[in-house]
Symmetry: C2
Subunit: 227 residues, 2 copies
């Protein structure tokens, strides 16, 4: 399979550079991940985002390219033990992940155990070390606006690189309201990644206009090739 | 809140002893888990099944009772690294879990990497040690019948205590066909746990008639109190 670059419009190229080309279905195989990686190289996506068991395949396939290997942690429920999240994130970084998307301890936020929410994020940030960025997935569809703001502030305190709306496995994905709210809360101190339900060029452009600077989607090719 | 026993019919008591009283929603708090545990004590359920982050709450609340603390591993996608599943399962056992429900490496089964499927299960079985049972969740809705049989045989080889149909987080739950197929494959060498979509007494009785000897459900109280 070719990895020759695909010619895109200037707008398409700019969008591609903001997309995490994502495949997190549990039944995706190594061959599926290889194809995902080759597409990411061809279209100039920012990263590929894959499950941890397939991360070695992504790291190997992307070697020597500018595409970032990204994986997930405590995914998609966020309800694994902090020690396990830290172990998983450390293993991912040592395997070659350069970004790790962890899920917030939603249960702890819901019971206002903010020190646990914070220490859970900090454990992951410390575990990956300096060569790997951390995104925190809020799972906004489960949160009130107040909880979204609280979680964003705790994420700032934990020193993450991005806050992210959704896993794509819960009851809803990114909304323009949530992206704008997260951006208003963090300003320019972290990135904002919109994810879940982004399927068209119009979806993507609206999310960026609302404040996102990274998009998680499995529809990246459609998004960047729409005229 | 009381933990006095609730009076049930003989049939209700027999059913209760086969039920894993389950709450795996990511937003469930410690208070929700305490209530779940007290219900399990009152109704005589076999176990409570909770996310790993809340396992310490379940262990503490169930102390001195016959109800088994159960948690999940690599849940619900099964696509975490084997080393992470082993870490998570070992941590669960040392925290006090007496049963761990792990998710099969569905991706590996799909690409016929059977030695990986087996070593993934074996790593968890070895990690929990002898005081803790392991159930393997097949996520049958994603598998062909041939794959279900193959996975069941590998689970036997790995030395698990139960094979289980579903996480409840995918595209479908337990079916009578699948329960009968799993039981026919393992005979009496392991238990069969039906889970996902079991909401009524009739559902529960049908699953048992098809070959299940454990049921995972969040509707246990309805099931055991239906006359």
């Amino acid at each position: 399979m070719s990895t020759d670059p695909i010619s895109l419009s200037a707008a398409g190229r700019a969008l591609a550079a903001m997309i995490d080309h994502t495949l997190l279905k549990p039944e995706a195989t190594a061959r599926d991940i290889e194809r995902l990686c080759r597409e990411a190289i061809q279209y100039g996506f920012a990263s590929v985002c894959v499950n941890p068991a397939l991360l070695p395949v992504a790291v190997k396939t992307l070697e020597g390219t500018p595409v970032i290997p990204c994986t997930v942690c405590g995914f998609p429920l966020g309800a694994t033990a902090t020690a396990t999240k830290a172990f998983e994130a450390g293993l991912a970084a040592s395997t070659g992940a350069r970004e790790v998307d962890m899920v917030l301890a939603v249960w702890a936020l819901k019971q206002k155990a903010y020190s646990e929410v914070l220490s859970d994020m900090r454990a992951v940030v410390e575990s990956v070390g300096s060569g790997c960025g951390v995104k925190v997935i809020m799972e906004t569809c489960l949160l009130t606006d107040e909880e979204k703001v609280t979680a964003s502030r705790l994420a700032l305190e934990a020193g993450v690189q991005f806050i992210k709306t959704s896993t794509g496995f819960s009851t809803g994905g990114a909304t323009l309201h949530d992206v704008a709210l997260l951006r208003a809360t963090v300003g320019t101190r972290t990135g904002v990644k919109a994810s879940g339900g982004i399927r068209t060029r119009a979806d993507a452009e609206a999310m960026i206009a609302a404040g996102a600077n990274r998009l998680g989607t499995s529809a990246g090719i459609t998004i960047v090739t729409t005229p």
